[in-house]
């Protein structure tokens, strides 16, 4: 007899952990949309932010102060990356920029751990992880909280992109960098802001992931979880990142529970990639990605 309640539990658990993937993926999308860079260092930024915050708190800095300090550092990082890496590499092929962010991720990971040490830090952000019993289905309270954070973050971004002048210039740059330059937008400033925004997203994601897994090196590996999400959702769509994240989260858990036992388990590591790639063969621009017009 098929256990539907269990299925729903797995599904909901998957969807909610998918929200966490979306959170990481959004950081990628923001950067990719405006500067065409697939930022592999997003995971390293996430680790850096979480590690900085935890270490500050552990050293006795007050919670809000540590929050502000970490935010300030992420802003500095965003501006610094634009100056030191993006500006000199302007007009290079995307692959070169991608490889540069690989180097960047090594630098940030190394720096984070050199500064704050390599031990695992616990992070308590005051959300209990007691499962709620909703109509017989157990749902993690923490996951719900994470989902709420991701939801409000996305709403915030949507408003930001829609309403503010900076948001407008983002959309202009994303649409056509040359035209944006021609009407006098300062591309470099836009990039610096975008990387800062991505840094803040990384910080939020880092806090949530850190509270879940402990703050340690493996935190930077969530970047690898986000890649299939991006492939599925399209590199340049925030909505795609959300839906992709949910799908990947659900697929991963379902595959692990229902397909995993057939092949010996542990397939979480690559199941998402296989699904994403298979999907790509049918729809090369992802679910919500812009169609590339290419006559090939």
């Amino acid at each position: 007899m098929f256990d539907y309640q269990f299925l729903i539990e797995v599904l909901v658990g998957g969807l909610l952990s998918g929200v966490m993937y979306s959170l990481v993926a959004i950081g990628f999308v923001v950067i990719y949309k405006t500067s065409g860079v697939l930022n592999f260092a997003q995971g390293a930024m996430l680790l850096f932010a979480a590690l900085t915050f935890v270490s500050l708190v552990e050293r006795g800095v007050a919670f809000p102060l540590a929050l502000l300090a970490t935010l300030a550092i992420m802003v500095a990082l965003g501006v610094g990356v634009e100056r030191a890496v993006l500006r000199p590499l302007v007009n290079q092929p995307p692959i070169t920029l991608f490889m540069a962010t690989l180097g960047l991720s090594y630098v940030i990971e190394g720096a984070a751990q050199l500064l704050w040490g390599t031990q695992v830090h616990g992070l308590d952000i005051g959300i209990s992880d007691v499962p709620l019993d909703i109509a017989g289905v157990f749902i993690s309270q923490f996951d719900l909280f994470a989902a709420a954070v991701a939801g409000s973050l996305v709403t915030l971004f949507a408003l930001f992109f829609r309403i503010t002048r900076t948001g407008l210039s983002f959309r202009a740059v994303a649409d056509d960098p040359f035209a944006a330059l021609a009407v006098g937008l300062r591309l470099q400033r836009v990039w610096a802001i975008v990387w800062t925004v991505a840094g803040i997203v990384a910080f939020v994601a880092g806090l949530l992931w850190g509270a879940r897994l402990g703050v340690q090196f493996s935190l930077s590996l969530v970047v690898l979880k986000a890649l299939p999400v991006l492939v599925l959702g399209g590199f340049d769509s925030i909505a795609g990142a959300i839906v992709g994240g949910l799908l990947i989260g659900a697929i991963e858990k379902l595959a692990e529970v229902y397909v995993g036992p057939l092949v010996g388990g542990g397939i979480e590591a690559w199941a998402a990639y296989v699904v994403a790639l298979a999907f790509l063969l049918v729809r090369p621009s992802g679910l919500f990605g812009q169609k590339l017009v290419e006559r090939a």
Binding site: L38, A84, V85, P88, L89, Q92, P93, P94, I95, T96, F98, M99, A100, L102, G103, L104, S105, Y106, V107, I108, E109, G110, A111, Q113, L114, T118, L224, L227, P228, V231, F235, V263, G264, G265, G266, I267, A269, W270, Y273, V274, A276, L277, L280, L281, P284, L292, E294, R295, A296
Partner: protein, 353 residues
Amino acid sequence: MDTIASTSHRTGPVAESILVGVAAVIAFGVIPLAGSDYLMDAVLTPFLALALAAVGLNVLTGYAGQVSLGSAAFFAVGAYAAYNLHLRVPELPLLLDLVLAGFVAAAIGIVFGLPSLRLRGFYPAVSTLAAQFFVQWALTKFGWFSNDNPSGVIDAPALSFAGYSFTSAAGRYLFSLAVVTVATILTLRLLQSQTGRNFIAVRDHEIAAKVIGVPLLQTKLLAFGVSSFLIGVAGVLWAFAYLRTVEPAGFNLDRSFQILFIIIIGGLASLRGAFLGAAFIVVFPLMLSRLGAALLGGVFDSGVLEMSQRIVIGALIIAFLITEPRGLIALWDRFRAAIGRRTGRPRQDISYN
């Protein structure tokens, strides 16, 4: 990446062949006799294996323009394939195992290269990442690959060829050197042929390449195949000649990045660059640990070493991409050209196209 890197110096043919001859005598004759075991065991043998892997990745990334983040997977496939061939078909000579292992890696490489036929840009890179995770998972999960070792560890058999065995440090170094030399020469020949020019055409402009009649499908898959073949053979050397006991975890994503970094630092689309880059990647941590210990003493423990190594390598990658995308090999060529001018020897300026 719009240049075809020169694969030979513009020195006169006589001087060039003398140089190659001297290098060969030193590599095959002097080092095995005079070099210490440490030099051959811990420096030269891993250098050779990594250099061959970098040559392989360079075929794919430097020449054919497809970024791969899964080199370590093909490295592992080579090692485990050779191990299983040796174990299960003991009649085959080891050298044949080596070649067959290369073909197994090539087959896997072609499978994961398939998405590149329909996808551009970052997507093939994501597909090679899938290879990375899948292979590592399969090797740990299925005991058959490691003859039912619980953690997937394999002990490589002793190297032997035509009745001679190569178990000493010098022997394993010589074996690697011979394999790498032959493989590199064959790769060079391939790259200088029509096929090599097809790779470059696909890299520089896919549509234009198609228009002038380059078969995209075959060319891309061939690039994946040749590249994985070479990386697979390099993996055999890594496992059989260098480490001799390997586990799947040794072929993780960091290893893939290491091989990618070798070709970025050494120089994309340059076989000499692959060797220079590999030399750098092998020697650099040794130098850094000596330097750190000398400057900072006890503070510089292995943790600090690893982190500072990451920072410096990462910074170097960025620095090279910004200031010299053609890598160390371009610096080397400029250096040699400058020496040539100084000594007044007539030589053409190095050109890059």
